[in-house]
């Protein structure tokens, strides 16, 4: 089971994790196009938290006891028993945001670009490797295997 782990001690607060997460979840999937005028709203599943000179990235920890899944009123939010990844079935989500209220890390977002649905880190399932981890210049985001 894989999880993304933030290392606050070496985070420089550059925010590239957010940038690349937005690219990954943009319509174009291209850093050259995603932020151009008219490219549409971008959304990030990563939050960069900063206070003074401390910073770290926060995204879903794919909890073993996922409160977002337990709170989901439709069954749209599920934890894959094999990969451990918690994901949203877009066809079932009705945008009640109970998952947003349940996640103690504030790691479930609202995607309001089209149909209003929950948005969260999917470990870049389509891409194969989390883009935020790959593009972190200082190894402040790493992939850990349980």
């Amino acid at each position: 089971m894989l999880r993304i782990k933030a290392i606050p001690d070496v985070c420089i607060g550059c925010g590239l994790c957010r940038v690349w997460c937005k690219v990954e979840h943009s319509d174009s999937g291209s850093i050259h196009k995603a932020f151009k005028p008219g490219a549409g709203e971008t959304v990030s599943c990563v939050e960069l938290e900063e206070e003074g000179c401390e910073s770290f990235a926060v995204q879903c920890r794919q909890c073993d006891e996922p409160l977002c899944v337990y709170g989901c009123i439709t069954g749209a939010m599920q934890k894959d028993p094999d990969t451990g990844v918690v994901s949203v079935d877009e066809s079932k989500c009705v945008g009640c945001w109970t998952c947003v209220l349940m996640c103690p890390n504030g790691a479930v977002k609202r995607d309001r670009r089209g149909k209003k649905i929950a948005l969260k880190c999917d470990m870049c399932a389509e891409r194969g490797f989390p883009s935020c981890v790959e593009h972190c210049p200082n190894d402040a985001l790493v992939l850990e295997e349980e």
Binding site: R3, K5, A6, P8, E47, E49, E50, E51, E54, S55, F56, V58, R61, Q62, C63, D64, E65, P66, L67, C68, Y70, G71, I73, T74, G75, S91, K92, V94, G95, C96, W97, T98, C99, V100, L101, M102, C103, P104, N105, G106, A107, V108, K109, R110, K116, E146
Partner: protein
């Protein structure tokens, strides 16, 4: 025919039952599980029935788990059976039979053979809608919104109706009103209390909710009671709702959404302790061995009040069912996160509340709040710890607040961060941050 018996028996087929099945199967792949359902349905999401009425969710998308749920979890689903009573071993009339089955007890079925359980039973039969004690509630055109069948029948009726009255402005009532307005019905909500969502919202929050409803064409009458549902002169069908003010609301459908009451009659005479619900400990066990309860039927531990409370919300039903299932199967789990949490949208506007959201500033509680337009943030603090909140509109990362409540975080000096919405994990003590960003999210149960 041999009496049917299972290692684990679950009475009910909704959220708590699913939580229990998934918990049992996560630690025990072989014991037999029987689920007894009164409704002849695959497990479905009860909150989605108003979305179904609104035409936003198709009937085949209302199911809470995939079609192969029972098969995949090796569960035998017995539908159309109404459990009337729970019987423990000592009460079994035929001791011999009980021994031959190895039974810990059984449940009695209306017009059917009892069903036995060998290891444990979970009572997860939920709540029954409260019928207001006024004449006319049995007229055609009067509906509850508790089951998918209620919704199907209402939907059929509404095809030739245009003017609805919703009685009760709780969550179900208001979601029903929203759905009815969205399909073009004229809707009036009648509520006895002086505001809507009175148990989950304070006056300011209720006003904001009401504003959204009114803006979208729903009429809301507060502080008014229904005294009767009247028929028309030549038909028995509901044609008007009479009010305590003497007024009459002409209508062609009535929705009764006053609330639900735990189905505690299930355990009448069984020696199982009840109050407003079936009383359970932090393992979701009743006072009788091998008998558990979870979901809307249970009165379970509420960490904020420190005592037991009926908190009939879906997240707690799942978590309670999961905790029960774990303990039934011999694994460890405790029910520690059973506070009230509510997240709901009306016409796209989000409203959230948790814990003692309705409390005001006083001796026991300190309240900090900020209202800017439709954006409201309120935090209820007791002994420097968050015990209640309301957030409307800008609900991003609201889980940080419930997380802080669950973790009993000392929020001294954080008022500003709470009010501006700038609170992050980074505001937490170092060891708590470590747990949140390096832990595996296992310590909630």
């Amino acid at each position: 025919m041999a009496a049917s018996s299972f290692d684990f028996l679950i009475v009910g087929n909704s959220t708590a039952a699913v939580g229990a099945v998934e918990a049992i199967r996560s630690v025990d792949k072989t014991s037999s599980i029987g689920v007894i359902a009164h409704e002849p349905e695959h497990t479905y999401s009860r909150p989605l029935i108003t979305y179904f009425v609104a035409g936003k969710v198709a009937e085949d998308n209302i199911y809470y788990r995939p079609a192969d749920f029972y098969e995949r979890n090796q569960v035998e689903l017995l539908t159309g059976l109404e459990v009337t009573r729970v019987v423990r071993t000592q009460q079994l009339r035929d001791e011999e039979q009980s021994r031959s089955i190895g039974g810990a007890g059984s449940v009695e079925i209306r017009e059917g053979e009892p069903i036995f359980y060998r290891k444990a039973v979970l009572l997860a039969a939920g709540g029954a809608p409260i019928v207001p004690p006024v004449p006319g509630t049995d007229r055609p055109g009067v509906f509850f919104m508790n089951t998918i069948d209620d919704a199907r029948r209402a939907k059929g009726w509404l095809a030739h109706a245009s003017r609805a009255v919703v009685v009760g402005a709780g969550l179900t009532g208001l979601k029903t009103a929203e759905a009815l307005a969205q399909i073009g019905q004229e809707v009036t909500v009648v509520e006895m209390m002086d505001r809507v969502l009175a148990t989950t919202m304070d006056e300011t929050g209720s006003e904001l909710v009401k504003n959204v409803l009114v803006k979208n064409g729903v009429e809301v009458l507060n502080g008014v009671q229904m005294t009767a549902i009247e028929g028309s002169q030549d038909a028995n069908d509901a044609a008007a709702v009479a009010l305590s003010t003497g007024e009459r609301l002409a209508c062609d459908s009535v929705f009764l959404t006053i609330g639900v009451r735990a189905r505690t009659s299930l355990v009448d005479g069984s020696g199982i302790d009840t109050n407003r619900g079936i009383l359970v400990d932090r393992h979701m066990r009743t006072n009788i061995d091998n008998i558990y309860a979870a979901g809307d039927i249970a009165e379970a531990y509420d960490p904020l009040s420190g005592g037991n409370r009926v908190v009939p919300i879906l997240p707690n039903a799942y978590i309670g069912g999961r905790v029960a299932g774990m303990n039934m199967a011999g694994a460890a789990a405790e029910y520690n996160v059973g506070m009230a949490v509510n997240s709901v949208s009306f016409f796209g506007e989000p409203f959230m509340s948790a814990g003692f959201a309705t409390e005001s500033d006083g001796e026991e509680f300190r309240v900090v709040s900020r209202l800017e337009g439709d954006l409201y943030r309120k935090f209820v603090i007791r002994n420097n710890k968050l015990v209640g909140m309301i957030i409307t509109g800008d609900v991003e990362r609201a889980g940080l607040i419930t997380g802080a409540m669950r973790a009993e975080l000392d929020v001294s000096g954080m008022e500003n961060a709470l009010l501006t919405g700038e609170m992050g994990l980074i505001c937490l003590p170092r060891e708590m941050v470590e747990e949140r960003i390096h832990g595996v999210g296992r310590n909630w149960l």
